[in-house]
């Protein structure tokens, strides 16, 4: 997926990865995003950290410095508000996807 098409969904994807892997640091999150998309998402790595900080400012995630691995790293976790937001966004996405699928089904014959 092209970078500009991914931009609008980056917040949701970041929330989803944090929910599944928390606590997780920025680099680990980017690696998980790449792995989860199986190379289909063209990720702009430089956009991930500002997105994390904006989510934290919106209190959907929280962060703390962790040095248990011998290296000081800032790790992120989902807040209760973040869990609610993620569920809402996942629902919205499912509805959107169903609507697009339903429309595209009408022209499935073009692919044959």
């Amino acid at each position: 997926m092209a970078t500009d098409r991914l931009r609008g969904h980056l917040r949701t994807l970041v929330l989803a990865i944090i929910a599944a892997r928390e606590p997780i640091h920025g680099y680990g999150l980017i690696a998980q995003l790449k792995a989860a998309s199986d190379g289909h998402l063209s990720l702009n790595e430089g956009a991930v950290y500002p997105t994390l900080h904006q989510l934290e400012a919106d209190r959907l995630i929280s962060s703390a410095v962790d040095d248990s691995s011998g290296r000081k790293r800032r790790c992120y976790s989902l807040t209760d508000a973040g869990k609610t937001a993620l569920v809402d966004e996942a629902t919205d996405w499912a509805e959107f996807r169903d609507a697009v699928d339903s429309t595209l089904k009408e022209i499935a014959w073009l692919a044959n």
């Binding site: 920025g26 680099y27 980017i30 790595e45 430089g46 956009a47 950290y49 900080h53 904006q54």
Partner: protein, 260 residues
């Protein structure tokens, strides 16, 4: 050598960052951690240390682009509080001239003061429009510059209010309040300009900072009307509303500190 590449890249990012203090330090630490880890992982795939570092840096993106994305935006709560504080300020401003009209058993007194207040409100409105236009004009240059332009315009406008009151003989009541009036107007402009400059430096809280400065200046003016000229209880309601607006903005400024 690879370490030098990372140092040079981060220096470049540092040069383009428009955030300050603890938040800037945090961003640079996170980016350094990312680059060191990414370089190590790529190197383990068989590349030289230098090639691995160059690839890690390229994946993160050009320094100016990466740095430009770190522009803390006001949260929804900040915006909501600022709107509420704005309503409080309007209520406060409206109460003061009403009190002026109703003062002394319905007799209109201090018409000059009312006249100057209309001018002051007009200047505030003009400042808001100018600030908006500046923001729109500079939008192509980045949100940060746009906000800065708007705040500078607003700060200049607030100073203009003080200058207007100093220059306008009609607004200077004869009597013991005149000197206090001049000092209040001038002080409001100077304090507002200073606070706007602080707000510009702390962009994450710029909205609350600008509200704090504006409502602080308006509060000083309202206190003057209500207390020095003794306009009665309705003016005190105005002062209370403006004080509430100011405290709201102050509370927001304290709570919405940049990430650290």
């Amino acid at each position: 050598m690879a370490g030098e590449l990372i140092d040079r890249y981060l220096q470049d990012v540092h040069g383009h960052l428009q955030i300050t203090g603890a938040y800037r330090k945090r961003v640079l630490e996170e980016l350094r951690d990312h680059l060191e880890q990414a370089s190590a992982d790529i190197e383990s795939d068989g590349l030289s240390a230098q090639d691995a570092t160059e690839q890690a840096i390229a994946s993160l993106g050009p320094a100016c682009e990466v740095a430009g994305r770190f522009v803390p935006a006001a949260t929804r709560r900040t915006k909501l509080l600022t709107v509420l504080a704005g309503i409080g300020a309007v209520v406060g401003l409206a109460a003061v001239p009403i009190a002026n009209e109703l003062h002394a058993d319905g007799e209109r007194v201090g018409a000059d003061v009312g006249y100057s207040l209309v001018w002051a409100i007009g200047i505030v409105a003009a400042v808001a429009v100018v600030g908006l236009l500046v923001a729109l004009a500079l939008r192509l240059g980045g949100r940060q510059r746009a906000m800065r332009g708007a705040f500078v315009a607003a700060a200049l406008g607030l100073v203009a209010i003080g200058a207007f009151h100093l220059a306008n003989d009609g607004s200077l009541d004869a009597g013991p309040g005149a000197d206090a009036w001049r000092l209040t107007a001038l002080g409001a402009g100077v304090v507002a300009a200073g606070l706007f400059l602080v707000a510009i430096r702390r962009t994450a809280t710029a909205l609350a900072g600008s509200a704090l400065a504006t409502f602080g200046a308006l509060l000083l003016l309202a206190v003057h009307y209500a207390l020095l000229d003794q306009r009665g209880p309705i003016a005190l309601v105005g002062v209370a509303a403006l004080a509430l607006a100011w405290l709201w903005a102050l509370g927001t400024l304290v709570r919405e500190r940049p990430l650290a």
